[in-house]
Amino acid sequence: MSLTFSLAHLMGGVILLAAFSLLSQRRLAAMITLYQVQALVLSAAAFWQGYAQGEANLYLTGLITLIIKALILPLSLREIVLRFNLMRAVETAMPVAVSMVLGVALIGVAVLVVLPTTPGNISLTREDLAIALSVVLLGLLMMTTRRGALAQIIGFLSTENGLVLAAIGMPGMPFVAEFSVALLVLLAFLVVGVFLFRIREHFDSLDLSGLEQIERRGR
């Protein structure tokens, strides 16, 4: 049992660390790598919770996380960065140091809010929940402090990782895999949306029908 605790907490800690480093990182490529690390650890955490709780449902969640969030999403994000040449640093709405101080404050808030409200009942869930709430809040903070659409999306992805971390820690919660799929649909639309957005800016026209015309002429 103690191994269950310490491993789950270790993985939660790594996820939180990745969320925190995302806050300080200003290059998109590095942000994507950090997100990938976060998603990898999250899928490991899901497998571990599935093993510890004996829930097949959680293995499925882990598998979905591994394939889509740790592989497909980062790859397509990198593709967008490469194709549209977004290698330069992202603009931030406030100095990185200030946002990091705010981030520490948010983690403090999360711990202070969650730990006293869940006295005793299930300590594995308790600390996992505090970590998950910190990740969620850090992701939201990142969405507000970054200007570019892609950086905001990575913030949202990190938030979503925090949600899944909370869900896998809930004892015997139904629909965890379904929740993660539903969130993924939202994320997929976000990424595709940015892709289309970028294409538009690239061709500097207000309507995608311009793109279709180019295609037709090419043929």
Binding site: T117, T118, L133, M170, G172, F175, A182, L186, L208
Partner: protein, 484 residues
């Protein structure tokens, strides 16, 4: 037999057909036919509310029928809209548009009928994605900006709501244990006194901000005016207005859990003050924003924020009568607002174009000189929104105000002031819109038949408020008593 499943399934099954087949006009007719079927099935659902995940209670059934009705009349008006606007978008995008209409209707109904807090969340998410796609359909720069704003704010709201949902599940653990029971509204309501009160309070804060974003309560309302103003008119205004109800009813149900726990000293805070404060902020924000708006769709978007605020305020006052007033207010607002947007689209069509950007008050003014019936319908709807008699909303606002004086006298003063500011801001625009000289180059146009549907809506809202059928009255008051 689970008859509540039928309308949701019909809407869902029609999506691939609408999305892949047909010209815009055929799609619009098929969409209207499906919407009529959905409306009939929402009425049929009263005889078999189902069991398990999709177990509709009376509240869901009543609002489901209202959703079905508004969806049907919107789809009929939509046939005429598409006829005029078919050239603006490609065939593929019209198909997407009609598919989105049914996804939003189906998701709204699933959210209303859901007995499971997870299913409620998922249908809210599906409605958000569909509505965002719909807003982005015109692909103009401002439409994409509106869609992005909607996506980011809606996404944050959905993330917070999911976190709150999980916390409710955790709070129910001491009472119901692991498994599906801890996610069912019916079971949660019974077990509320034994739930973990402090955790439930924390959950409610997340749910209030999560679903509050979807209900466009200030200060989380930023997406709504833009989304209303930039998307294709019938879909983003009439239909997605219906999803506001789902979010508001979700807030009502969760606040009932919190209230029940508080009443039996389970450690939860009372939800009333939160709701009253958010409601008042929304009403005042609307009052001051309305007078500065020039685009009519943005204007009436802000007015939706006001009415969300009034409903949440009523839920915050609590007690069976105030909650009855809030529910009645939501029902009437649904009928009047969807009628108003149908009339507004007609009015814009009379002036040449229904594309976004053709809805400025200055562009529509002097409507009486163009067509009297449309002017009467639109003017009637706008007047009904103010809540002055003989509008149906007068009845619900009267109930809410009198209950406020009885239960929270201090809150009645700001409520009255806010309602007055909003009514004055709306009335100020009514006169010029109807009677000022029309712009040059416009001449009288014949009445379209779909305009009469608007009058049916208005008549129904009037009838519901002042001569409510005893059956419906019994249903709503039982629901209100159960949720107070």
């Amino acid at each position: 037999m689970n008859l509540a499943l039928l309308p949701v399934a019909l809407a869902g099954l029609s999506v691939p057909f609408l999305g892949l087949l047909g010209t815009p006009q055929q799609g619009a007719v098929a969409n209207a036919a499906v919407s009529f079927g959905v409306f009939v099935l929402t009425l049929v659902a009263f005889w078999g509310p189902g069991a398990g995940l999709l177990h509709a209670d009376e509240l869901g059934l009543v609002f489901g029928a209202a959703t079905g009705f508004a969806g049907f009349t919107t789809a009929v008006a939509n046939i005429f809209y598409v006829r005029g606007a078919a050239a603006r978008l490609g065939g593929r995008r019209w198909r997407l548009y009609h598919a989105m209409c049914q996804i939003i209707t189906g998701a709204t109904l699933a959210g209303l009928y859901a007995d499971n807090i997870g299913l409620l969340w998922a249908s809210m998410e599906a409605a958000t994605i569909a509505a965002t796609l719909a807003v982005s359909l015109p692909r103009t720069a401002s439409a994409l900006e509106a869609a992005w704003k909607y996506f980011i704010l809606g996404g944050v709201g959905i993330a917070l709501a999911l976190f709150g949902t999980m916390l409710v599940y955790l709070a129910a653990q001491p009472a119901l244990g692991p498994g599906l029971a801890a996610m069912s509204f019916a079971q949660l309501a019974g077990a509320a006194p034994r739930m973990d009160g402090t955790l439930l309070t924390l959950a409610f804060v997340f749910l209030l901000f999560g679903y509050g974003t979807k209900a466009a309560l200030a200060p989380l309302h930023g997406w709504l005016p833009d989304a209303y103003a930039e998307g294709p008119a019938p879909l983003t205004t009439s239909l997605s207005g219906l999803t506001l109800n789902v979010a508001l009813l979700a807030i009502l149900r969760f606040s009932h859990l919190l209230g029940a726990n508080h009443a039996s000293h389970g450690g939860a805070m009372a939800p009333g003050p939160f709701l009253i404060l958010l409601g008042l902020v929304s009403i005042f924000l609307t009052g001051f924003s309305l007078s500065r708006r020039r685009d009519s769709r943005r204007f009436f978007g802000f007015s939706s924020i006001e009415h969300s605020g009034v409903a949440v305020f009523a839920f915050g006052i609590g007690g069976p009568v105030a909650i009855f007033g809030g529910l009645l207010h939501l029902l009437l607002h649904t009928l009047i607002k969807s009628a108003l947007f149908q009339a507004l689209i007609r009015a814009a069509a009379l002036r040449g174009s229904t594309a976004p950007g053709h809805y400025a008050f200055s562009h529509l003014r002097g409507l009486v000189h163009t067509n009297k019936v449309t002017a009467l319908a639109l003017g009637g709807c706008i007047f009904a929104l103010t809540g002055l008699p003989p509008s149906g909303l007068f009845a619900s606002e009267f109930i809410i105000v009198s209950q406020t004086i009885q239960r929270e006298p201090l809150a009645s003063l700001p409520l009255g002031l806010g309602l007055l500011i909003c009514a004055v801001a709306i009335l100020r625009n009514l006169g010029p819109l109807m009677f000022s000289p029309a712009p040059h180059h416009t001449r009288p146009v014949k009445t379209a038949r779909s305009t009469y549907l608007v009058l049916v809506h208005l008549g129904l809202a009037f009838g519901l408020a002042f001569a409510m059928p005893p059956v419906l009255y019994g249903l709503l008051s039982a629901v209100a008593a159960g949720l107070s």
